[in-house]
Amino acid sequence: MHIARINSAGKVLLAIVLLGLLAFALGFLPNRWQQICIMWAIWSTVGMSWLVILRVGEFSVGQAGFLCIGGYSAAVLMLKFNCPFWLALIVSAATCAFVALVVGVIILRLKGLYFLVISLVFAEIVRLTIAASDYLGASEGLFGIPIPNNLWFIKFSTKQGWLYLFIFILALAGFTFRRMEKSRIGRIYSYIGASPDLAQSFGIYYMKYRVQAFVISAFFTGLVGAAMGVYLGAVGPEGYTFYYSLIAQIVAILGGVGSIVLGPLLGSALYTVFDEYLVYVPGARSLIMGGLLLTVIFFLPEGLVSVRRKFLNKFPRGFPRKFI
């Protein structure tokens, strides 16, 4: 094949063009499927960010906290300071990264069960503080966030425009995480995840990388949280409960935690389709998601990404595998 022989920059360019065309085509789906695609992009990004923390060996159940901070800072900037949308987006993500830096230096001193517990507590602190603050709209939240101005052909008054934005954020996060995983940083993360003490004995100052992973994860979660807040037009403390933190972990685990990009993409596709069709039956969503989680953890521990390999292993060795 010719494609295999072009150089790596060419491959990246080709991938960008193909993905861009695919994303452009997604904009012409029916409205409901555009909605599903938007949620798919949102939860994939959140799932990937969650996996970054898992790479350094910590199991976070506090992603809702960063979604909340991101959404609220974008809402405050746009409503109270008349800040333009793009600036608000970047400032919100930076705010999240800063909060993660300050909090991370303290809470990443804890490991294992204690980190898990304290990340949950962190998300709840954020939510309850916001729910108690009158400036931030107390338990009602902030609503009436203005629709951003058009950007060239992208109109934010339609779902299409938002779809392009979220796909762009997803692509940005995906490329960043993929590059990270393939580089020296990714290998350092996996050493730390395997054994912090061993990593330290190799001269890796693991605290630095743990905080780094936490900050990067918070940056992308905050970015997508800010965009999501403006997309929905309202933010409220009731939205950012523990369930949001669970979704981050659901999409990553359904897809498979071994692959930082493909896993969350697959898991999130499964999650959002179920979510969209089950939202009218109260309770069915939790039941099915819980059932899926249990099924995956017992029968498919490596997630959906391992389905192809398991399927291939059923064929004899000489079977031409590249056609499947």
Partner: protein, 287 residues
């Protein structure tokens, strides 16, 4: 003032029940049971079915729901959790799955509405010139009896000693002839049963909905983190501190009282990451 004091004692005693249940499972199973709060919720619904739909007397309904949900907890431990081999990540995911399944079932079966639970005793009495509702007194008395019973069981009975031994060192206990699998199931069952009793009592004072599980989970996690994971006496002390912020704090500070309890826990963790009376559960859990 005396009224709030009674409320503090009542609430804290039930928090002790809730948190002791969780700390028992944490110390034996070495993983935080994220579904703990939802077992609490499930127990309250089971009680609702037994007492209102089936019309059983209070004590019988309480006993039946405790046995039913306790057995469910044991089943989850024996059939699901044990197969994961004690690794932290899969166990946590399994427990999150159970959390969602229980919540979904409750919404499907009973609907998302808020309900009230019947109280054990009705009417009021006067203590030292202040009117106190019998409901709260009976709730406190029941909690006290159960806590004392659990404490004696763990301290003096043979089975209780086996549970403590397994919590200290699983391998050594198994070498001494303790059936650690049975002990794991048993401690999960007892932990769940504690949650159910607390659930029936606390939701009778507040309200019951399928979503109360998460806040119960947060409360009990705060308590066991503050007291030290695996320490029952620590959980006892911490429950009274958290109860202080939820009763006196809620009356005098108002909406920010959650921040008070969270802040206290954060500060304690900063200076003593294992909690007030904690041992290092985490060092063994991570392997």
């Amino acid at each position: 003032m005396f009224d709030i004091f009674i409320f503090w004692i009542t609430l804290s005693l039930n928090y002790v029940l809730l948190a002791t249940g969780l700390t028992l499972t944490v110390s034996v199973m070495r993983v935080v049971n994220l579904a703990h709060g939802n077992f609490y919720m499930a127990g309250a619904y089971a009680f609702l079915v037994f007492s209102e739909r089936a019309g059983l007397p209070y004590g019988l309904a309480l006993l039946l729901s405790v046995l039913l949900v306790g057995a469910l907890g044991m089943l989850v431990e024996a059939k699901l959790y044990r197969r994961l081999g004690g690794r932290i990540e899969p166990s946590i995911i399994c427990m999150s799955g159970m959390l969602l399944v229980l919540e979904g079932l409750a919404v499907l079966l009973f609907g998302p509405d808020i309900r009230g639970l019947p109280a054990m005793l009705k009417g009021t009495t006067t203590i030292g010139g202040t009117v106190v509702s019998m409901e709260r007194l009976s709730v406190a008395a029941l909690a006290l009896v159960v806590i004392a019973g659990l404490f004696c069981f763990l301290k003096y009975s043979r089975l209780g000693r086996s549970i403590r031994a397994t919590a200290q060192d699983r391998e050594a206990a198994s070498l001494m002839g303790v059936n650690v699998n049975l002990i794991s199931s048993l401690s999960m069952g007892i932990g769940t049963a504690m949650a159910v009793i607390a659930g029936i009592q606390i939701t009778a004072v507040y309200h019951l909905s399928p979503y109360v599980g998460i806040s119960a989970l947060c409360t009990s996690i705060l308590i066991i983190t503050m007291g030290g994971m695996g320490s029952i006496v620590g959980a006892f002390i911490a429950a009274f501190i958290i109860g202080l912020s939820d009763s006196f704090g809620a009356s005098f500070i108002g909406r920010y009282h959650h921040l008070l309890s969270f802040g206290t826990v954060m500060i304690i963790l900063l200076f003593k990451p294992t909690g007030l009376l904690g041992t290092t559960v985490e060092a063994k859990g991570k392997g």
